[in-house]
């Protein structure tokens, strides 16, 4: 008697994915299709698109830290029209649903980019990146204030007719409060988390290692923070959560699913090995089969309550 292969499919509101593995914004592009088979992904996610062109930050834009990395790329963008004309058609070569990440530096700018991309064929969902400095509030992140997040999300939801995912920053006192605001604004799902805010200095030159003083801190090092955020968000809202931050292996994926994520995104680990997402898809299928788990959905939020050990433990058996 042969058992059917495990079911990897999941749903994010009306968006059905064949598996829960997708790239993180900014760590993916059609160029990756030259070296790996993008058909096997659950979804594709673009780098954040702004309404107007932007050049991004000065060099160096990348630095390495213990088990992690810093980036100060700063979201260069060629603007909405160039995105539609040049980038979008290239993504449409592949069939997994395309999630377009959008950003802005004011509430109005988010509504503007949403309006310009609304109804464009080939866009399955939007991911609203609220980890951008709010120029109207002295550079405090858009995503740091619940009321601002709710307004941005509501405005985007009103303008588009596909699911709206909201991607949160971890650099806040209560990510649960921000998540509730996004849900109240009408979000279909929440992505947690964007980069931590970090910094690195070169003691020899006495300058920061990146072109801007602070930079986005990502990679395996941040996983414990991202996982905690996903758990907190999953407790706070009823909509699905997409986990991201430091995921590099199938074990990492299981942690995020158990903590309450319905899907996950892989960012920095795609730099380490461009085929990381595909390795994970394969390993996830094998793992579920080995463990007799029929559907990946059975793992979502399946964290057992209570501590891992209640008492002193006798010396281990060999």
């Amino acid at each position: 008697m042969s058992t059917p292969p495990p079911d990897l499919s999941i749903e994010l509101g009306s968006l059905a994915l064949r598996n829960p593995i997708m790239p993180a914004s900014g760590c993916f592009g059609p160029e990756l299709g030259d070296v790996v088979d993008l058909e096997r992904l659950g979804a594709m996610v673009t780098k954040t698109v702004f309404a107007e062109p932007r050049s991004g930050n000065p060099a160096h834009r990348l630095a390495e830290t213990y088990a992690g990395m810093l980036n100060s790329v700063g979201i260069p963008s060629r603007g909405a029209e160039a995105f539609i004309a040049e980038l979008l058609p290239r993504y449409r070569t592949w069939s997994p649903p395309l999630i377009v990440s959008i950003g802005g530096l004011t509430i109005a700018a988010y509504l503007e980019i949403a309006a310009r991309l609304a109804g464009v064929a080939g866009i399955a969902a939007f991911e609203v990146n609220v980890s951008c400095p709010n120029l109207e509030a002295g550079g405090l992140e858009i995503g740091a204030v619940p009321e601002v997040v709710e307004a941005v999300v509501r405005g985007v939801v009103e303008r588009v007719d596909v699911p709206v995912i909201v991607k949160l920053t971890p650099n806040v006192t209560s990510i649960a409060a921000i998540a509730r605001a996004a849900e109240a604004g009408g979000a279909t799902a929440i992505t947690a988390v964007n980069a931590l805010m970090g910094m690195a200095i070169d003691g020899r030159t006495r300058r920061t290692r990146t072109g801007t003083p602070t930079a986005g801190f990502t990679g395996p090092a941040i996983k414990p923070v991202a996982l905690r955020c996903v758990w907190q968000v999953a407790q706070a809202v009823a909509i699905p959560v997409i986990g991201v931050g430091g995921i590099a292996t199938v074990d990492d994926v299981l942690e995020f699913l158990l903590a309450g994520a319905s899907a996950v995104q892989v960012g920095s680990a795609t730099f380490t090995r461009p085929d990381t997402m595909l390795r994970i898809v394969t390993a996830l299928e094998t793992r579920l089969a080995d463990d007799g788990v029929a559907s990946v959905r059975d793992l979502i939020g399946a964290l057992e309550p209570g501590p891992s050990a209640h008492d002193l433990m006798p010396a281990q058996a060999g």
């Binding site: 050990a309 010396a315 281990q316």
Partner: protein, 293 residues
């Protein structure tokens, strides 16, 4: 493994520190920090490695049941952050050497295997309070399973040298995982019984019978390490016969010295935390029916 012991230990009887002073208090010398050179390092059975370190300051004072903290981070590297506690399996006081036997379990022990002869490992020891041989003891039983036996082998040597009859049980999942039998024999144990899961000889039935047989003819103390099941058998026997039990515990550790409080448990509702495994243990005695002394 952790999961398994967690549930099971919930109902273990209370354990107490060994006495601070008197004949049944363990001998404790201050620990040393040194960069110990690797003298011998190699596989002794599938997954099991033996490591001999040149560590005179530790070899000088170590007592059976004590352990050392081994830093797994190499050279100038800053992680893995936590050092690994390892029982001191044996030593050569004159030669200044200590011996560790470990099983490859996770990232830490996997990295340990990469050390080669001449490499220097940051090592702190001897740590903790080890086993106590009662002054009048004539016959003792040692129950070890798997790598847990590592804590007991040195005790056998010291006991045998004092003329105490040592009866040792070595239990494992399969014959490749039988660690310590030879060390017991070399130390002069009068009986070494090796039992494994694969042929059923390690089951509660046969081991219980062996233990009962030994206890019937008079045993002064039972020492256990490495298994809930063995510990439970020992405690049952202790309740029935009044024999004292000493057990070696494990806990995740950071400092090994007693200041980080990582190796204790705080019981919700209680104002006192449980003993520190690194400083008050790792050897504890069973309470209340069987005091050590």
């Amino acid at each position: 493994m952790v999961g398994a012991s967690a549930g099971a230990t919930g109902s273990l009887p209370r354990l107490a520190r060994l006495p601070e002073t008197g004949p049944s208090a363990p001998r404790v010398a201050p620990p040393a920090l040194l960069e110990a050179a690797v003298v011998t390092h190699g596989l002794i059975a599938p997954e099991y490695w033996r490591l001999v370190l040149d560590a005179p300051a530790i070899a000088r004072t170590v007592e059976p049941g004590q352990f050392a903290m081994l830093t797994v981070a190499r050279g100038e590297e800053s992680w893995p952050v936590l050092p690994r506690p390892m029982a001191i399996y044996g030593w050569d006081r004159a030669g200044g050497r200590i011996e560790i036997v470990y099983r490859v379990v996770g990232e830490g022990t996997r990295r340990l295997t990469r050390w080669s002869c001449g490499d220097r490992i940051v090592t702190v020891g001897p740590l903790g309070r080890g086993f106590v041989l009662l002054p009048a003891a004539q016959r003792i039983v040692l129950l070890g399973r798997g790598i847990g036996t590592c804590s007991l082998t040195a005790l056998a040597g010291v006991a045998a040298a004092r003329g105490i009859a040592v009866h040792a049980l070595v239990s494992a999942r399969h014959s490749d995982a039988l660690v310590g039998g030879e060390a017991y024999r070399a130390a002069g144990a009068v009986e070494v019984r090796e039992v494994v899961d694969t042929d059923g000889s390690s089951g509660v039935g046969p081991v219980g019978a062996w233990l009962a047989e030994n206890c019937r003819t008079g045993v002064d103390q039972i020492y256990a390490c490495g298994s809930d099941r063995l510990l439970r058998l020992a405690l049952e026997m202790a309740r029935a016969t009044g024999t004292g039990v000493q057990v070696s515990l494990e806990a995740h550790m950071a400092c090994g010295l007693g200041f980080c409080h990582g190796c204790a448990t705080g019981h919700p509702g209680l104002v006192e935390e449980s003993p520190l495994v690194c400083r008050d243990g790792p050897v504890f005695r069973h309470l209340p029916s069987a005091p050590v002394a």
